[in-house]
Amino acid sequence: MPCEVNLIDADDPKLVKISQEARLGLNLYEMRRIKKYFFKKKRNPTAIELQSLGQAWSEHCCYKCSKPILKKFIFGIDAPQNILVIKEDAGVVDFDEDHAYVVALESHNHPSAIEPYGGAATGIGGIIRDVVCMGAQPIALIDPLFFGPLDSSTVPKGVRHPRYLFSGVVAGISDYGNRVGIPTVAGLVCFDEGYIGNCVVNVGCVGMVKKKHVIRSRVKKPGELLVLVGGKTGRDGIHGVTFASAELTESSEELRGAVQLGDPIAKEPLIHACVDVSEKGLLEGMKDLGGGGLSCVVGEMALAGGCGAEIELDRVPLKDAGMVPWEIWVSESQERMMLAVDPKNLKEVLKIFEDWDVPATVIGKVIDEKIQRIFYAGEKIFEMDMEFLIKGPIYNKPFQIKTIERKDAPFEEPEDYSEILLRLLSSPNIASKEWVIRQYDHEVRASTVIKPLQGVLGKNTHGDATVIKPLENSYRGLALTADVNPSYTKIDPFWGSASAIDEVCRNLASVGANPHSFADCLNFGNPEKPDRLGELHSSAEALGYVATALGIPFVSGNVSLYNETPYGSIPPTPTILGIGIVSDIRQCVTVDAKNEGNPVYLIGETKKEMGGSAYLKLLGISSTTVPVVDPKALRKGMDALISAIQNGFIASCHDISEGGIAGCMAEMMIGGDVGARVDLGLIGNMRDDYKLFSESNTRWIVEVKRDRAKEFEKVFKGILFRIGEVGGNTLLIQNDDRTLIDIPVKELRDAWSATLYDYMG
């Protein structure tokens, strides 16, 4: 065989050196395992074989550190709506009798930290392919983003300024998502010191498919042809997965070549053609080429079908003629998909791709033996057992869980709450994200019925969840939202993660949607450090605890580890995408307050839980009392609220999160362009500031239609306080007749609206 690497004679130091020089990202233990395998084969590996193992055994591809933890807590929440969950690139979940929705969520952190525009754009490209490869039409994109503070004065060497990263990432998502014609409808933008060195860019996609058209990411039987479709293969995106499975350093810039280049205009017809062939029943299997490129897709598809594969590498259409075999094999060039096609359907498949002007090439076939072989220029350059290649090592790495003592530092009550509320509203994490949202086409496809910005025309506020009406002949809707608050998770990974689930559920219930499934993207630091792995462990445990108690499954997800630089790790960031079902979109409600005279109610219990709150952050006071979650109370609260919305009692509804009751009410008034008078005397015995700004979970403010209030109070089963009514043009909040806050709505809006425009122009 050509270009052999002498592994058999290599001692330990040499093995480590080989791994480093070839950028395999494999440790000594793994190199020894490879050496042993080839020793038995009585030959040395070729360069392409070694590179292939580097890809397949990366954390990114085989989850070698995280899998045992995920298995223990996250996988396997049984629910009747599960159709095909966890196992594939995207989860497939029941929507109605004939249709399923498809969910995928993943990270694109390292590429975005180095090349924000291209990194974010290809993140969108990749997640769309994950949905398309299930045979589904993508219908919505969701983008949770995390950066360092926009006003950071200096940043460490080799790191880009958060403003540069933020603007590049938003431009990348906007340019790619808008061009490809899929609406970007939800997400979040969060700023925190912990992301200065390593921003977090998560991308989610939801699609729709007829149940009978769901395609698996696997081959079915020997003899099938492997057809590579879409873009040509180039040198862009080589070593993307190994790059993603190591910490970022000052010199990461040199790995710019690991970032792929996106081409939405090649993608758009690729989506059409793939959905077309799959709806015509011409495919046996389909999978996208993402991390690891051909090296991962061929092996994973073949092995999942209990087969092997033979590839003729010369057939792969190339961008650069001079590429060597291993480069072709591991390139992560974008806009490519692999199809498994029965020879009898080949002609028709190729015809459809030709009609869409999308290149399609047979590059190999499925074989009976569980072996992968590659031929290049008439020579065999690769031959390995599938099981050895794909089933990478799994580790039970040591982890350490820090104990958290829940306590508050004492501090004196401030005097002017109006001033504090205005400062909270203008703080970047609470302030309007209009600057971002308007750059995304959030209504292409004309099915976004509840939009991310809501309210009186020209006077919008943020919605809690977006609702899509995916089918032409049905009023059934899908509600989407994404959340996590790193201010909580960095103090307490367990309750912080539990709170993320609570907030996602609150957001969905706010519009009248029943939470139906979750996807998780777990962004953490280096798992080889026990405390980092401890954070992942606590977080996963909390997610599993709340989701299991609610009976809502995780259907898809992704783990992104090594999110750290020499300056430290990111805060634990378990991003949760929540999908809810709306039985009739005509019943949905929005956040913006509606009419003078309507009574206002608080749902849920307000507790002295100030840890991680925006209020204490503003005052610079530390506390560890992160809000806890009671899944039973959450279930009860949601059910009561959803039923009230379906009964038509509710005029507007907003969940209480950052900024507490005061922040929540301000946002409702900003959107409705109307004031309110409320008194918090009834809601418990607490200091004024705790009542105003506590971020206890499982709470909402609802505005009830005046003529339905009696009925609402009679049938509502849960903790409920009537606190006031909508009216006037100021937000007046009192506690037992003492005025705490009295601000004209216009002032609230001015404080809330300007921040991002001020920073970003």
Binding site: I265, V444, A446
Partner: protein
């Protein structure tokens, strides 16, 4: 002719991405729309078999040159004569968003001196904000009856249709600006102008791109070729209006555009 026999060609190339919405708008009203790739129209189909041609929004060919320029060039090189004939017979040609840009690049709009000018007489330039803007826009209907795509909308009525574009600033060449604008007005070619909630011609954000004279939509002098930047197909139903949970409307404001053009074809052909 009967609505169900009205064949509408919804034309696309790579990067067109609003075709499904336009297709559905006609379908819901009982017409016979067809999604047609430019390749098919050139090689296998005949434009004269259709009664209406629609060019939907998107980013045709990526809009990496000038928005709509590549789509227009391909159309022109293959179908110039057929397009001329189609327009001359009075068949409606509509362009939305990117489609409007294509019609301007083709010379079918504003077409001040002939049915189809050899060079574009106007342009849809980069928004003043230099950003893609996705926002609800309010449009005052200004056509006094010339435009066949808005016949069902009362004169001076304000309607809501969302905008979503990066290049939508309607401009004439500076040296001809006053003359062309006056002719556009005199010919009853100005169809929609951006206004605020009070119905006043207003600046950003109500005029989302900085268009001359707040122009959002125009037609040709004969009224059968029509282009608009905002998206009527996105507000076919009331449930896609941004404020439907607070303002009641029977229908989406965009529906009338599709009803108008179908009504015209029914009456005329």
């Amino acid at each position: 002719m009967d609505t169900k026999y009205i064949k509408v060609a919804v034309l696309l190339i790579e990067g067109t991405n609003n075709e499904q919405e336009v297709y559905l708008a006609f379908k819901r009203l009982g017409a016979d729309p067809e999604l047609l790739h430019l390749k098919q129209l050139i090689s296998k189909k005949d434009l004269s078999d259709y009664q209406c041609l629609m060019i939907p929004g998107g980013f045709s060919a990526g809009d990496y040159v000038r928005a709509g320029a590549i789509f227009a060039a391909r159309l022109k090189s293959a179908l110039r004569k057929q397009l001329m004939e189609f327009a001359e017979k009075g068949y409606p040609i509509g362009g939305i968003c990117n489609g409007f840009q294509v019609l301007v690049e083709l010379g079918l709009l504003p077409a001040l001196d002939s049915r189809m000018s050899d060079y574009p007489q106007a342009s849809l330039a980069i928004n003043d904000s230099a950003r893609f803007e996705c926002r609800p826009t309010l449009l005052k209907h200004e056509s006094k009856g010339n435009c066949i795509f808005t016949k069902d909308i009362p004169y001076q009525e304000v309607v809501l249709m969302p905008s979503a574009h990066a290049e939508g600033k309607f401009l004439f060449p500076l040296e001809k600006q006053d003359e062309y604008l006056q002719r556009l007005i005199d010919n009853d070619q100005v169809v929609f102008r951006y206004v605020d909630t009070q119905g006043n011609y207003a600046d950003y954000p109500w005029n989302p791109n900085g268009s001359l004279y707040n122009i959002a939509a125009i037609c040709n002098p004969e009224g059968n070729v029509f282009g608009m930047m905002p998206h009527p197909e996105r507000v076919f139903y009331r449930y896609t209006h941004p404020d439907w949970t607070r303002v009641y409307k029977e229908n989406g404001d965009g529906k009338a555009v599709f009803e108008s053009v179908l009504g015209y074809i029914r009456r005329k052909f």
